[in-house]
Symmetry: C2
DNA sequence: CCGTCATGTGTACAATGTTCACATTGATCC
DNA sequence: GGATCAATGTGAACATTGTACACATGACGG
């Protein structure tokens, strides 16, 4: 997952920061929720809680780091999804599918990413990673609409696509699709692609 | 907000359950986040923490109760939004606007509602309130499409509308609309109504 | 070799969620 | 009307958590 230092430090860990991120993420996955214990994460890594304060100002800072890591993976997933097709529309649909796929595969991380956005809005790492993910969608839409990326039309279309994928992902995570008459994948496909009614 | 018992109980509160819900909600609003302290809520109500355990199994149960209360208000807001117009399409747009309006007006509550959905999925009160809110959208779409409410087409259309409003609301709460070239209300209007660029 | 700075440990503290034993209330039945 | 009893409150206690402060240890450049 991350490169460990070569020597066998008894005292110094080597890459505690990333190790804490990974441990906390693992804890979240086990719980299924978006919460974790700082102490427990440190315990897993084999280190005292206080050691983590050398790498994060407080627990919120660690959560922001996790969210940022999530957004980086997220952006990558969106790009790879876009590469599944060759035409602009296909690429757009590909990112949409990748969006939902990511949310389903990493529910806790996905939730944390978007719930810690207000907490750590001032944190540069987070906003940067978040904007980069959004840019994937925007540039895809710009080429699809054949208009400049900063035009209002592109903004509106991107926002609509983003909203659609985002809302759909959340509804799936909340189990809101279970009651519906079609199976999940068919629903996702029909919702994302634009064949209205 | 809620009817208090007539007599001046020194010991018995009268409607502690609802009072705790209100206090916790107020705390969330003050913090801006979705978290609160059970003890602090009890303190506000003028009661010991332990008293709350007569009305809620634990803190999560209180959160679920808050979320359910939120979904009831939410459902009402959607209905009122639909009543702003007379034609089916106008009603649909009305609920969409009401959806986003509710999220902006009650950000903490909105977040809690959808983040506690997995925690308290087994809780009947919550799922009931949630489904009722969703039914408002579904019935509106059924009359709009003039098809039976349980048809796949209605399901897909409802899911798409719900996703759109939901995602847009979340993106607004996350402050993702600040960077965009149009002002928020114009964006919302253009995203919700279907004039694809 | 030795300072010095980053990185770790130990101790301490207030706050929180939760539990258990006990107190108080108010309705119900004789 | 007074005893009974379930509903509803209090009080003390405990483990866990996030955080702060003083100190230990290690790596490394002069």
């Amino acid at each position: 997952m991350y490169t460990v230092s070569t020597s066998n430090h008894r005292y110094h860990h080597g890459n505690l920061r990333q190790a804490l991120v990974d441990a906390a993420l693992a804890l979240m996955v086990e719980t299924g929720g978006t919460d974790f214990s700082l102490r427990e994460a440190a315990r897993r890594v084999g280190v005292t809680v206080n050691a983590s304060y050398r790498h994060f100002r407080n627990k919120d800072a660690l959560m922001v780091a996790i969210a940022a890591e999530g957004f980086r993976r997220f952006g990558r997933a969106l790009m790879e999804g876009a590469l599944e097709a060759d035409d602009p529309q296909g690429r757009l649909l590909g990112s949409g599918r990748a969006y939902v796929r990511f949310a389903r595969a990493n529910p806790s991380l996905f939730r944390l990413m978007f719930s810690s956005f207000n907490v750590g809005r001032q944190e540069e790492e987070l906003t940067l990673a978040g904007n980069q993910a959004f840019d994937v969608l925007k540039s895809g839409l710009a080429t699809f609409l054949d208009k400049p990326a900063d035009s209002p039309d592109v903004a509106v279309a991107a926002l609509r696509a983003w909203s659609l994928a985002h809302g759909l992902s959340y509804l799936i995570l909340d189990g809101q699709l279970a009651h519906l008459p079609l199976d999940e994948d068919t629903l996702i496909e029909r919702v994302i692609s634009n064949h209205a009614g």
